[in-house]
Structure formats: C-alpha cells, structure tokens
C-alpha cells in the first residue's frame, strides 16, 4: 500500500506539472499581442506604445517565456496566483471567496444524486425487465440527455414562476440551494443510476450471491449486503470522477441561477480576458481534480480487497 501510494503520488506530481504547463500556456493561444489586447480591454481605448511597454515590464512579459513560467509556477506553489487585472485583488482571494458557494452546490447535488440513484439503480436491477426497470431506464436516459441549463429554467418556470414556492435565483439561503442542487444533481443521478444498475446486474449473476442465498439469508440481506457492497465498488470510482463533471455543470447552473461561485467568476474572467483569474481557476480545478482522483483510487483499494497492492488499475 505504501509503495503504491508513493508511486501514485509521483504520477500525480508529473500530471500536475503538465496541468500547470497547459494552464500557463493557455494565455499564448490568444490572438495577437496579449498585452495590447488586455490593455485595450482595461483602458477601453487603443493603448499607446509606452503604455504597452510599461504593462509588459510590470507583468514580466519581457522575460523569456520559460523564465516567466518558472516565476509564475514558484509563485503559484506559494499560493500566489497573481492579481486580477481590474480590481487588484489577489486571485487566491477571489477563488477562496467564490469557493464556498460552489462547494455547497456540489455537495448538495451529490447528495441529491446518490439519494436518487442508488435506490433506483438497485430496484431497476432487482426487477430487471419489468415496468419499474424500463421506467427508471428511460428516466435515467432522459436525465443524461437533458441539458442542465434547460432543466434549470424549466424548474424555475414551474417552482418559482408558476407555483411560487422557491426563489428564482441567488445564493445564501437553503431555499435558494434547492433548485440548483436538483438541476445539477439529477443529471449526475442519471449517470449513476445506469451505473448502479449495470454493476448490480453483473454482481447478481455472481456465484457468491447464490452462496449467500443458499445459506438461507433473506433476499433483502443478499441484495443490500452481499450484492450492493460489491456493486458499489465501481460506482465509487465513477462518482469520484463525476466530481469533475459536477464542476462542469456548476458553471452553467451558476449562470442560470445567478449564484456567485467559481463558475460565474470564471465566465466573467474569460469574457474580460482577465488572464490571472482564468489561469488561477484552471489551475485550481486541475489540482482539485487530480487530488480527487487520487482519493478515489485509494478508496477503491480500501473497498475492494482484491486489488493488488501494486500496479495500476487502468
């Protein structure tokens, strides 16, 4: 286990290095001279050559690119992601301010998703081929296919505008969390339901399930102890990886519900060409994502004693 952790960590460091390269390199995709583009946006007029030169010097754009990168990286490692072009606020501060709203949304969505998905998936598998199964399969497919920005507006129309029971938008209160969490959670629930069902169907065919039955165990214990525990092993992996798609969805959902989270911050920064903020958020999500994957792998090893203590799962 120790050896595995060390080698897994080493891989993660390599990946994170790649992530930082990509993040930093993004700026150079911008058409034209970044300094000029940024200044034009900032000053809302064509900047003079002097202004551009001054800006370049201030931002360190004069240095060779590898030096710039190393400077940026060493700052980033110390938690300094630079300052916003417009407000002079540290990017780290901006990210940390926006983070709670997004985390709150992600956590609530995860709860919604699992609460919906696990029972539905199990029921679907146990009643394979029945109406229950078909209904949940179709429901899950619709959930997967539904763009969550549309689902968000649909929910707003029904619950906020027609029924008037929940607020349209905003963040802070529990009531304001309900619709966004459902919007984001159902999409993920659909994915997980399908996974639980498949996984469960596979496990129910396993001989050890028959062994459990032949002991005289109640079907409930056979299903929820022997089968479910095994079926959840791959589910945990995917749920962990789904965390990334939660962040994807959070961007859109935050815009629909006007929640001031990371997604909102990112979209604003992208349109403002506020590159330090864009880079900061990209790096941050990359790091979070890599860390989640690492955590998932370790959990997986704990859940499934069969996985050898060495070697890669992929």
């Amino acid at each position: 286990m120790y050896n595995y952790l060390v080698s897994r960590l080493a891989t993660s460091v390599v990946v994170l290095f790649g992530v930082s390269l990509v993040t930093y390199g993004l700026v150079f995709l911008t058409p034209g001279d970044p300094a000029r583009t940024i200044l034009t946006q900032q000053l809302e007029r064509q900047p003079s050559q002097n202004e551009v030169d001054a800006f370049r010097a201030e931002q360190g754009f004069d240095e060779p690119i590898p030096i710039q990168y190393l400077g940026w990286l060493s700052d980033a490692l110390r938690g300094d992601l630079g300052t916003s072009y417009y407000t002079d606020t540290a990017v780290t501060t901006l990210v940390l301010e926006a983070l709670p709203a997004t985390l709150e949304l992600a956590a609530a969505s995860m709860v919604v998703a699992l609460a919906l998905a696990i029972p539905t998936g199990v029921l679907s598998a146990v009643n394979r081929g029945t109406t229950v199964d078909y209904a949940s399969q179709i429901g899950a497919l619709i959930g997967v296919s539904m763009p969550n920005f549309w689902l968000g507006y649909l929910l707003i129309m029904v619950f906020a505008l027609v029924l008037g029971v929940l607020p349209v938008a905003g963040a802070g209160s529990f009531a304001q969390l309900v619709l966004p969490a459902i919007t984001l959670g159902t999409g993920m629930a659909a994915v997980v339901t399908r996974l639980v069902r498949t996984s469960m169907l596979e496990v129910l065919e396993e001989p050890y399930v028959d062994t459990a039955r032949s002991k005289g165990l109640r079907e409930r214990i056979v299903v929820y102890k022997h089968a479910l525990r095994n079926a959840l092993v791959p589910v945990v992996t995917i749920v962990g990886l789904q965390f990334g798609s939660l962040l994807n969805g959070a961007v859109v959902v935050e815009i629909v519900f006007q929640r001031p989270g990371l997604g909102m911050l990112l979209v604003d920064a992208v349109f403002d060409r506020n590159y330090p903020v864009v880079q900061g958020i990209a790096l941050f999500t990359g790091v979070v994502f890599v860390a989640t994957n690492l955590l998932v792998d370790v959990t997986y090893r704990y859940l499934d004693p069969r996985v050898a203590l060495g070697g890669e799962t992929a």
Binding site: L29, P147, W150, V270, N293
Partner: protein, 302 residues
Amino acid sequence: MSESNGALEAGVRRRYRSIRDSRTVATVLSNPLNVAGAVIVATVTAAAVVGPTVAPYEPASQDLANRLQGPSLAHPFGTDQLGRDVFSRLLYGARLSLGIAVVVTAIRLVLGTTIGLVAGYAGGWVDEFLMRLVDVQLAFPGLILALVIAGVLGPSLRNVMIALAVVGWASYARLVRGSVLSTKEREFVRAAQLMGVSWPRIAVRHLLPNVAGPVVVLATLNVGTVILGTAGLSFIGLGAQPPTPEWGTMLSAGRHHLRDAWWIVNAPGVAIMLTVLGFNLLGDGLRDVLDPKQEANLERST
C-alpha cells in the same frame, strides 16, 4: 496487390452478408428503445439535411409586429423576441448542431484512436509519455477547459469546435490503448505472432477489428455529448453569436422571456434533449451488440 483487393472485396461482401443475416440487427431492433433511438437520429439527420429547404421562414427574417407570438398554425413553435419563427430556426439549427457534433467527434476519434494505438503498440516510454498527456487532459473537467480555450481564442463557433475537439480525445486514447493491450495478450494474437505474421498485419487483421466495436459505441454516445457541449458554450455566449440559429444561443436569448414566452426556451431545450437522447439510445443499442463482453455471451448461447 490485386490479391489483397480481392480479399478485401470478399471481406466486405462477407461482412455485408453477415450483417444482413445476422442476429445482430435483429437484436438491435428487438428492443423498442433502440428503435426509438434509431428513429430519432434518422429524423434529426433528415431535418439537418432537408430542413433549410422545407423551413417555412428564413431563420433571420425579423417580424417585429409578430414578436413573442405563442404557438399557432402559422408559427408552430411561436416566434421569438424579434418575431422570428422558432420552428424554422430549429430546423436550421439542426444542421448546425449535428454538423458540429459530427465533425468534432470525428476529430476526437481520429486523434484519440491514433494516440491510443501508438501507445498500446509501442509501450515503454512512448506509452508512458502519451498516457501522462492523457492524464493531463483528463485532469481538467472537460467543459471548463473547453470554456477557457474557447474564451481565450475568442467567441466563435469555429473556436468552440476547436476547443471541444482538443478536450475530448483522451477517452478514445485510453479506451483504444486498453483494448489493444488486452487484445495483444489474447492467445490468437500470440498465435499469429508465433506464425510469423507481420505486426502491421496483426494490427489490421487481429487488433483493430476487436477494438473497433467499443470505439464506435463511444463515438455514438459522444455525438450527444458534443451537442450538449456546443449548446452549453453557446448558451454561455462563447459559441454561435446572434443571429445564428444555434440551439444553445436560442435558449440563452429566451431566458429573458420565461414569463411571457415560455416556448422560446423550451423549444430548443426539447430539441437538444431529444437529439441527445436519440444518440444515447442508439449508442446503448450498439453497445449491446458491439461490446466484447456481449459478444462473448452471444458466442456462448450459440
């Protein structure tokens, strides 16, 4: 050369025969869900091909006198805030959405499959390097990376396509590499190796056919994902710019009229959902017959 052509032809003919007679087709069609998927995909494809010629109105023709009209005979899905016919715009949008999705998926597929094949083949350092590249790509939530790339490149449909293509190839690479590695270890490949069959021939004849199934399934499902991604980025404002009749852009424009014109949001919403649903259903159906695991089952039951 002519001989290999002959073999190829014979192969194609045999494949056609086997498709025609096979239980595969029957299996796919025996599930009503698969049929529904095929019908939806066929309908959307038809709309994309002939839609612009049968659309009752020009997508950009404004009629401010008739703005925000509810569904009627003249305007089956109503009109938008500028009096444009929502139904006609949907039809034009079908071509756009589907076209983008197919192109982006094709780029992802070719890029990812190539990288996966090379990694799986070569092994060693090449494999290690390419897989770390895959890891790096997968280390970003897809839409966020696409959003940043599209944003930095500047809002336009072309840039959205580039962004989506760049972020989606890694899953193909992983899938193909995995299949290549496991197929490479199967005894029939080892047998071919021991008989002196050359590596390129082993790749084409033994590896690719056994890798192709899952890739086709992934690509089918991917078309749906790309449609969602394009619509999402356009919704945010990075993709198609008004007045382009893109489904995500249309939905975004309609959000200011949730109270007075619900159809503007819901018409493109339903269109997106149904299209994606169609591809998901079809992909599932294909998985049932193309997945190697499933194939093993078929083998056993005969």
